[in-house]
């Protein structure tokens, strides 16, 4: 096989791949057949309500929790094998939801501590981010504000030349100014380095702002997945208004996510082929019909609601 073909195969390989992932904690089913694919070079938002299984998925990917069944691979390596898990973590930066760090260390100590694990540590970036984030190097971590703690956690993952960043609710609990600073830093860094970002959030606006791909998870299963552009292109809301009460209609066209009736209005959310739905709807004789694009927020809310 030629070098070029090798390179192409590597480029095509998925950074994260999970198939039919199940995770039970006693009687609680945290993951129920989750499948996930994250291609290299993407900023992949992982959207879900609280308790949807986002953190469990991340823990499985990083070898912190073992799946009950199913398969999870990162960089093509099995996430549940101890040796490959160490290799995965060597190439990955992780920021936990509560920005878990050693409270008893100072900022300078934890930077020195973390750098020792990564031979390719970027000392130049460390200085840049320490200055940009105005990190107090001599202060104990327990004395840092949540915002500063988040910035420190970010510095620790950005300077290690990671190929993959896994961020669990990176902006939770931050004020809008710090949230913006964190997101901009992330986007700026990814633009200048070759890396993949996989971040969980329940903040739709920030996924909309920085992600190019998204997976929506609900009750341990992926309910929507794809590039944001494709989702925006494919998802449509078909709105039909009738003279009297809207009929209790069913549609045979593929891609119907949800049908709602409210008085004279019938709304159909479609993930593909809105025109075919519209053709079917015309047979119902609505007084007016409209096909309108939908926002990520609507896709999220409708996908999650459709599962209820």
């Amino acid at each position: 096989m030629t070098d070029r073909a090798d390179g192409a195969r590597r480029a095509d390989a998925l950074v994260i791949e999970a198939a039919d992932l199940h995770k039970h904690y006693g009687s609680v089913q945290a993951l129920r057949g989750l499948s996930l694919q994250v291609p290299p070079g993407s900023i992949h938002g992982f959207l879900g309500k609280n308790g949807a299984g986002k953190t469990t998925t991340i823990k499985v990917l990083l070898g912190m929790a073992r799946p009950t069944s199913g398969r999870a691979r990162v960089f093509g390596l099995p996430a549940d094998a101890q040796e490959s898990s160490v290799e995965i973590r060597r190439r990955t930066g992780f920021v936990s939801d509560d920005k878990d760090l050693y409270d008893y260390m100072t900022v300078a100590e934890i930077i020195r501590f973390t750098a020792a694990f990564f031979p390719q540590w970027r000392a130049d970036l460390e200085r840049t981010y320490a200055r940009t984030f105005e990190l107090p190097l001599d202060r104990k971590i327990r004395a840092l504000s949540r915002g500063t703690r988040t910035k420190l956690a970010l510095l620790l993952v950005l300077c290690r030349r990671a190929e993959l960043l896994i961020l669990d609710e990176p902006t939770s609990g931050l004020d809008p100014a710090v949230t913006e600073e964190v997101l901009q830093t992330l986007v700026g860094h990814v633009a200048s380095e070759e890396m993949t970002v996989f971040f969980s959030s329940h903040q739709i606006s920030e996924v909309d702002q920085i992600a190019d791909r998204v997976t929506i998870i609900d009750r341990g299963r992926a309910v929507v997945s794809g590039s944001l552009d494709d989702l925006r292109e494919q998802y449509r809301r078909v709105q039909l208004i009738f003279d009297g009460d809207a009929p209790d209609a069913t549609f045979r066209a593929p891609g119907v996510v949800r049908v709602r009736r409210s008085g004279r209005i019938l709304t159909v959310l479609s993930s593909a082929g809105a025109e075919r739905i519209l053709d079917e709807a015309r047979a119902l004789n609505p007084v007016s019909s409209d096909v309108v694009p939908v926002t990520l927020k609507e896709i999220f809310l409708e996908s999650v609601a459709a599962e209820d």
Binding site: K59, M64, Q82, R89, F94, D98, D100, Y102
Partner: protein, 262 residues
């Protein structure tokens, strides 16, 4: 750098233990002149205590042992102070760790688990660091005895100090290992500490009760190196058995950590 992290996590327990044991060692040496002055009273112990009973015989034995400086150091320092205080710090240094860190905010368990280091390595470094500290905790105060003894006109063998220190370390590591294993089961600092402390107390009481029946077995007897003190050699069987128990407990702790979800 995991060594550095383990050191930061345990340093205060270690330093407090080192301070306490060093003070106790100094106290033992500089108490001896006072004990010497009381020796005439000990020689007439039959007039105040009924030595025909088992307890009376033990008291007489203890008083007789302290007639020599070597006997006094073994009885007061090794058998009582060093074994007792060191065991407390063995349990303290064995408690805590990865699970306790995951239970308390700011413990950094997830941060540790996200580093490119296996759980076995993380827990191994923690165990070796604490065992190293426990070795220092027993050796350094023990060496103070031969170093300070000339100050009161006495001498004490460095070899004896080392042998007793190593007996305490090898046999007493079982208490550390038990607390260490329990720390991989419970998510708080207190249960491993209290359970191991309770087991140590029960063993001590049991050993005392057996001694009254002239049955000479028990971990604290091995720790104090009594057979070596009495000239009948090292308690090899007890040392080997304790070392084997410690190794088994540490192995169980490593396996327990490796299979856990965080």
């Amino acid at each position: 750098m995991l060594w550095y992290k383990s050191w930061l996590e345990t340093r205060w327990r270690f330093l407090i233990g080192l301070g306490l044991l060093s003070i106790a060692a100094c106290g033992a040496v500089f108490d001896y002149p006072t004990v010497l002055k009381l020796m005439p009273l000990a020689n007439n112990i039959e007039t105040t205590i009924d030595t025909s009973t088992k307890i009376g015989r033990l008291v007489k034995q203890a008083a007789a042992l302290q007639a020599t400086y070597r006997g006094f150091i073994w009885w007061q320092w090794v058998r009582q102070n060093l074994v007792g205080i060191w065991t407390v710090f063995a349990v303290l240094l064995g408690s805590g760790g990865l699970i306790a860190a995951s239970g308390s905010g700011g413990g950094g368990a997830l941060f540790t688990l996200s580093l490119p280091a296996s759980r076995t390595r993380v827990i191994g470094v923690r165990a070796v660091t604490a065992l190293g500290e426990l070795l220092v905790l027993v050796v350094v105060p023990s060496l103070l005895i031969p170093l300070l003894s000339p100050a009161i006109g006495q001498s004490y063998s460095i070899v004896d100090a080392f042998v007793h220190a190593l007996c305490i370390f090898v046999a007493g590591a079982a208490f550390f290992s038990l607390a260490f294993l329990l720390s991989t089961v419970f998510s708080d600092l207190w249960r491993p500490l209290l359970i191991t402390g309770a087991i140590a107390c029960v063993l001590a009481l049991l050993e005392g009760a057996l001694a009254l029946q002239s049955i000479q077995i028990g971990i604290f007897r091995v720790m104090s190196g009594e057979s070596y003190f009495r000239g009948t050699g090292l308690p090899w069987l007890g040392l080997l058995a304790s070392a084997a128990v410690s190794a088994a407990l540490l192995n169980a702790a490593a396996r327990n950590i490796a299979r856990q979800d965080f």
